[in-house]
Symmetry: C2
């Protein structure tokens, strides 16, 4: 028997070297009541795997800091890179039960289904991206469990740990809730392991992992990667072809400072009410995103906002789910995060340039909607601006940049290359707005042929939406 | 005047594009009593800089979680990458004053000089690596300051912020302590700015930044990068040429389990006493580091330890100070962190292969000593193992790996290439041990010709050192 487990361990180790090679990220979840044997079982697995790409992630009760972020924030942050393995010692499921039972953020999560949907969406997003999630629920006979707890209590050096177990959620609550989850889950989603016989348990764990890794490897090899922007030949869209009334200088000067001061006041009000504000900017090159953002932030308190200007992903970012790098930077409660370009790159530049496969960018619309909902579910305000520009106006601005010494750094060959693909970008933008213009995170199209008018327009819109969220009736 | 400040801002922006290009990391510190104008001044600077590579980092009072890490941990974590700019809104100096005044971790920091030395070492380490640190202290006339505070209090939307100011360290304490720091600092280290006249203050800030950036750029261009391992031709060392008595199988089997159980008990005791344990493994290829680590961790509770197996740095890691990626992974209080290879790579592989310049690896000995002291200063146990192997024994193990199917993945061309440089590695190892064998973080040389003996030796040594730290008199 022992020999057999040794062979199984070697097989698990060999398979994980293969998943590493192929870049398949693995997440292995251990749930189970305290003293059920999940420590010993997960440690057994941990010892088998290569420490170079294995992480052990224990789920603790949410800290005060955790509570200032979105429910799944810490699981986003610690997502494994391609080829890496995370072992979760209790997971988002235990976390979920704790939120429910301790009525954490009760005002937001007054309905069971919100967090449950978040978990479902989280898992489906990462599974779609090739992540393999293996879930174990560990059980043990009551007799053995009590014996083990007693032993811990009697040893002065481990007594505190037994106490810690008891100060967490009551075992029977956890047990009851987990059994609800197990019952509702699709068949075969969870592997239940009885730890009463240790060797049998290890064997069962290893066999299950082997089966799952083999099928993940098989699936990975069969998946064809097709890059195809799939653009229609004669796309025409008027949606992005609007214009805005030109504002005169005097009105602009008197309005801009007033609006900025109001926004600063609202920043403080959002902070006090712990409402995060997420502003997303997309739009054509040279539409004036930077200048627009500058006017929005100009009077804000810098300790409470951040601008995230998105460039090409680093190699570390490329080895994660594409939403990972944005999830990591989502604001704390009461803070403002401004994205100068964003996760929408997936369905814009990545689609047009073929950096994402058709399958990837096609499913991204739904992923993005689910992603944004995770934050609005918890009270965040998400506002998205698309700054549009006439093609001739863009040419004029490009040339002006080239001719003005202190603006030359702003214009690169890439801008000219993008311009050649103008129509493709328009079509991709159009699809994006149509498919991600949700009630809870709407797009606001801002004609930016006149920069000053566009700035006033954006400021007014942000103020209106913040006031609604703070004091108005309109809530999603 | 306004025009002038606009030109200065443009110059600052242009210079930071140059430091970005050259890869010079910039850290700009703003200290000053509340309502002195540092918010407005730092925001003015922030608006000038490119959000793509600028981060604004406000220092808050230490949270419970912060206190579980080393004093400067959060500043290590947020170190800018090469070419990036961090603006610190209050910094490690305010943090230092708060630690002092609120008697945080008083048992450890009973002497003023410990934290002060940590700050000095931190700054000198990163300056040596080409980081430019620019420090401002903002002052304002008392009259203007009080007027500003009053205004904040009267506005219901900003009243809470005025209150927050007052709940922090008393202004006069902060003021008194900062003036001590300013007085003790070398001339020109801090730029003091009076904010009473806003435009003058902005001008003074911009001018100072321009001067400092210019000199940093100049210095960067003058610095020659020389890679030279500087090895003596006839190096011979007996230090690493020891052997260990072979243990018999029966003794090994009875001892190993007993020692592992004891170490597990000690893990719990360290946890309760909040003492972090840091184990560093270095040594020749095939010396059995992995197997040795496996025996150390075998019975430990996986929620309380981590193994950090060091591979080649990622591109993100390469753009930071070389100690950054290790600092980030240092353990919380009461946790165990095992490094399978470590920061010593700087003076081993990086020296031998020429990845670090002579200047870089030469100063690394002192940097490493200072780095380790930062953790032992706060009560961490740092133990370092060097596993040695006879050259013939290594050959035997390499060949065995090649001939055993399930071990083949362990042997690569790189191992053979390293072997060709055996003598250089020996000399580098020898220098390393001589120069970093400190009282507070000693090396333990472990002859590993016999793997089982080496495992017993390491376990015994760890147990002895933990017992000493927990209950013994020997403390550093």
């Amino acid at each position: 028997m022992t020999k057999n487990n040794e062979q199984l361990s070697l097989e698990v180790a060999a398979l994980t070297r293969e998943t590493k090679e192929l870049g398949i990220p693995i997440m292995i979840v251990f749930e189970g009541v305290p003293a059920s044997g999940k420590t010993r079982l997960s440690n057994e697995l941990l010892l088998t795997l290569d420490a170079k790409y294995t992480r052990f992630i224990p789920t603790k009760s949410p800290t005060e800091d955790d509570l200032r972020y979105q429910f799944l924030q810490k699981y986003w942050n610690s997502l494994p890179a391609r080829g890496d393995i995370n072992i979760y010692f209790r997971s988002w499921y235990a976390y979920f039960i704790e939120y429910q039972e301790n009525k954490i953020k009760n005002s937001i999560y007054n309905k069971y289904h919100v967090l449950k949907r978040q978990i479902q969406n989280f898992e489906s997003m990462i599974k779609d991206d090739g992540y393999e999630i293996i879930k174990f629920y560990i059980e043990i006979s009551d007799k053995k469990r009590k014996a083990h707890l007693k032993e811990m209590k009697e040893n002065p050096l481990t007594n505190w740990k037994a106490q810690e177990y008891e100060s967490a959620i009551a075992d029977d609550v956890y047990h009851k809730e987990m059994h609800k989850i197990l019952k509702d889950a699709p068949k075969d989603e969870w592997k239940i392991i009885d730890y009463t016989e240790k060797d049998e348990a290890i064997k069962s764990m290893n066999q299950h992992i082997i089966t799952r890794l083999k099928s993940a490897i098989q699936l990975h090899k069969e998946t064809k990667k097709v890059s195809d922007g799939n653009f229609s030949d004669n796309f025409k869209s008027e949606l992005l072809n609007q214009s805005i009334e030109k504002i005169n200088n005097k009105t602009y000067k008197s309005l801009i400072g007033e609006l900025q001061s109001r926004l600063k006041e609202l920043q403080f009000a959002l902070y006090e009410r712990k409402i995060p504000l997420i502003l997303v900017y997309e739009g054509m090159d040279a539409a004036g995103k930077g200048g627009n953002i500058k006017r929005v932030r100009e009077k804000l308190d810098p300790t409470g906002y951040e601008v995230n200007a998105i460039s090409a992903p680093t190699d570390v970012e490329l080895t994660h789910h594409y939403l990972w790098r944005f999830a990591k930077d989502m604001p704390r409660s009461g803070h403002v995060e401004i994205f100068d370009r964003s996760w929408y790159g997936r369905v814009l530049v990545e689609r047009v340039e073929g950096f994402a496969t058709k399958d990837e960018w096609s499913r991204a619309y739904q992923e993005i909607n689910q992603f944004e909902k995770m934050w609005t579910d918890e009270g965040a305000i998400v506002l998205k601006f698309f700054l549009t520009l006439d093609k001739d106006e863009q040419l004029k601005r490009f040339k002006e940049r080239e001719e003005t010494p202190e603006k030359q750094w702003k214009i690169t060959d890439e801008d000219w290359r993008n311009r050649e693909k103008w129509d493709l970008y328009i079509e991709a933008s159009h699809d994006m707005i149509e498919k991600t213009n949700t009630d809870y995170a709407p797009w606001h199209i801002v004609p930016a042929d006149n920069k000053k008018s566009a700035r006033i327009e954006v400021l007014k819109y942000i103020i209106k939406k913040c006031e609604e969220a703070l004091w108005g009736v309109k809530q999603y």
